[in-house]
Symmetry: D2
Subunit: 291 residues, 4 copies
């Protein structure tokens, strides 16, 4: 068999292991490194013991996030520490280097060696795709936590961005009565066009008492003490917003409201699919790089 | 407050406790009996210590199934044994008596005292309604067990009856590619009209290799050794069929196929909703009885 | 090219012409007869001038209905009269003979010659399939007649059989708020499970004032004078029920209610698709006949 | 009855007449002007004969577009000419003045008198809302023109903006197999998340042969001679793109491809709904203006 390209997949969690396997399944030659405990999920790849063959890689895929503690590669499935600078010395500008969620320091490190790192996590197509497992994860949590069916449930989704739109869509598709709260008329027009009831976030307090499930997608404290006080006691709140989240957690605890703050769902509920999204995005980066 | 009617709810599991509470929430006077450990879920009902006021009930609701071991009332949430005959002596033909899944012996017991028991579980509207939490339960299991999203998944649903139709609908609504296998052309026409791909169950063996999830709803061994051999190793099989089920479990074990036999999902995944379906059906029975 | 089978397609309207062409496109040798003015739609078939080669047909497809005026073949696209008995003499029991909607007299005529005619129109898979273009036809009429969008429209569908279920589904899919009225609790359970609001047909009068569109599918006078009086003046009523229909037309005219009685939609709105359903059904009949 | 506010609705087509009636139905005092032949659709409004009471209006709604031929108000339903400057002299900065699609000249005219005109047609919530009747209009045209059902149809939607997304959604909801072509990976990710197949517009030529219906939403000549040559002869092309449209019409005519260029669908297929969108947008403008 002739391999199409040579990929190196370094560090990261199970998503990275699945990504390596998916690349191999597409006919590529794939080396993994600093991924020892994920090896069982990537049977068609080769585990590299050293970095000396890394320069032969056409494309190098660093994890999400790239940098862990102390300037080392983020590598939770490896027993050893892997300083980023040890890896950098084997890379060259001819290679397509990809990584997820690069902080300024890391970007600087690469720039000083005239290396460009493509941040796949900053690409809109990945962010949109990740909204799919996020929405499904919200459905799964609701199914597990609530003693009622999604069918017939009164659901409020706060926010009408990517995650908000898809979350509303999934619950509605299962037969829930879905309302979407948003700040801008334009977003409400979208929510209405897609078949949901709508309300202005500003009017949330007057309306929050009738929902059995509230899913927040906005990273701002929408569900403050006042709003929480108006919510039914048997309601479930799922907060999908990244830090600082959208719920006043202290107030929720005092009022006895049930809140589940669910972060990073794609890697948790569907690691293989999440890996495939990174693969697709890397392919797009390669195509745009002319490789 | 004036109560509308007096109900007695006897024995059963959490569904029965939720049912009692739902009746109370509708404004009825509700007594529970032999349901001690479910009392927390029915705060607006009265726990009866004896049966002497049972004759005052307008409607008596026995559990699903009515009869447990040794001729006693099925009462898993009670510490004591409650022989059915002790209950029977307090009932009269003027009362509307309901129970779920009556065996011939139990029916005979009631008939000898000239009592009619309405079997709510034999009524089509309850069977159809129960298909909703059953389908949702299948979705929940698939989400929990598979490392991929439902979106984009190749799903095969075997059977196009109540559970088959709704299961196919729910997976499709979440973005899966759903095929339905059925024996009769008429069922395939239904599956097609609802938007699913179709195949004759007879041709299943030639086609089974491409599904990531197979949900069986037919209580006959469709997935025998031959069919199982053709299924992908990483496929998940969810069997929703009542006994004897639809999978040759020995063959599946030998071939290393992953099978989850999921029975009685409504009471497990959505006990409150399942209780509300029984309530609705009891209301229908009362209306038909002219009460 | 080698033909698979020889079909003769006799009489009928454009559906029959499209059917002939679809059979030819599947690789069969197809003769048409008494279909002259539909020939342009069946360019890959041969127009027979006489019946002398009819005995060579493996399968003979008579139109829907088979019998027109005066014991002749129903042949609106032919200039001549074709007495059925002239055709019968060329048929033999070895051939698979299909026809649509056979009356008792016609059936008797064939039986006397020991010929079995398979009535494709009596087969459930065709009836279910025909509900698809019927439902689409109702959507098309509503779009053409109403000055508002289907999205957001309050729609009432009366009846929850094949046509009722699919009609409700299509309008709901386009964003309408759909209620289904049915007589039996079981049908209401189905309607609810599929995501529609429900009401008992018996309670229709109290509720009929809020709908912008009412689609009837039940062949019994549900919309009598009383019910019509309660309907909004700007409502549109589409009656899909076969004779006698579901609307008191005199009362509707007097009350100024707008009613469109839409019969035989499949052949009108989607003749090619309607022809393909007959083809599929004929294939099923052939398979069951062991041919 | 006490009126809430006083509106003047000037000029325009039937949408404007419906808008006037909808405002009146909401409890406002509404005058129409230069709308004589639309008066029957606005029975609860008052037709003003002169402009002398116009200064009493709280809100003045000019048509879409505001300006017709020769600097006059666009007023196709009036027999007379109404120079814009005659109207302007009666307006003051205290009034909320709304109009649709203002050209630079008109805007300048108002600015010189220190009048601000809010262009409702430039507001995103109206543009999104109008995508609903546009998508429905495309469905209606397809149903009217094609001899097959939408169910089962292979549909290609070009573009994944507002109209593209909703058009794909509606056809898919009716059972069509929908592919979406877009230029950017991000848009393809959206199309995929919403359940459609996807292809890059750049690859359209290789794929265009399998569609029975192609709906273009992109105002650039995507369907040039080459692309058109690859399309099936019996395909229907609906072009929803504003000028210059997306189809090489000369090439289409020469190749015998069937193209329908459908512009301004909202006002044509659902004038009442289109009027209600303008009403909602005007309400939003009033709210933002603190009135």
């Amino acid at each position: 068999m002739k391999y199409k390209r040579t990929f190196w997949v370094l560090g990261g969690d199970m998503r990275q292991a699945h990504l390596a396997q998916l690349l191999a399944a597409d006919g590529h030659r794939v080396f993994t490194y600093a991924l020892e405990h994920g090896a069982h999920a990537a049977p068609d790849t080769m585990a590299a013991r050293s970095l000396h063959a890394l320069p032969e890689a056409c494309c190098v895929i660093l994890p999400l996030p790239v940098c862990g503690e102390g300037g080392a590669l983020s590598a939770p499935l490896s027993d050893e520490a892997h300083p980023l600078c040890d890896i950098l010395v084997h890379l060259s500008p001819e290679q397509v280097i990809c990584g997820g969620r690069l902080d300024a320091g890391t970007q600087d490190l690469f720039a000083r060696r005239r290396l460009t790192v493509h941040d796949y996590f900053a690409r809109e197509e990945l962010v949109v795709a990740n909204a799919i497992p996020t929405a499904e994860g919200a459905v799964q949590i609701a199914m597990e936590e609530l003693p009622v069916t999604i069918h017939g449930l009164q659901v409020l989704v706060i926010g009408c961005g990517r995650v908000g739109k898809l979350t509303a869509h999934r619950f509605s598709a299962l037969g829930a009565h879905v309302s979407v709260a948003a700040r801008r008329y334009e977003q409400l027009a979208w929510a209405s066009a897609l078949g949901f009831s709508t309300l202005l976030t500003q009017q949330l307090k007057d309306d929050s008492g009738r929902y059995g499930l509230i899913v927040n997608t906005v990273p701002a404290t929408i569900l403050d003490r006042d709003a929480l006080a108006g919510i039914r006691e048997d309601s479930l709140i799922i907060d999908l917003a990244s830090k600082p989240g959208g719920v006043d957690m202290d107030a929720a605890a005092q009022l006895g409201r049930r809140v589940i703050w669910a972060l990073s769902l794609p890697g948790k509920v569907a690691p293989v699919t999440a890996g495939s999204y990174i693969r697709d995005t890397v392919y797009n980066i390669l195509r745009e790089s002319g490789k």
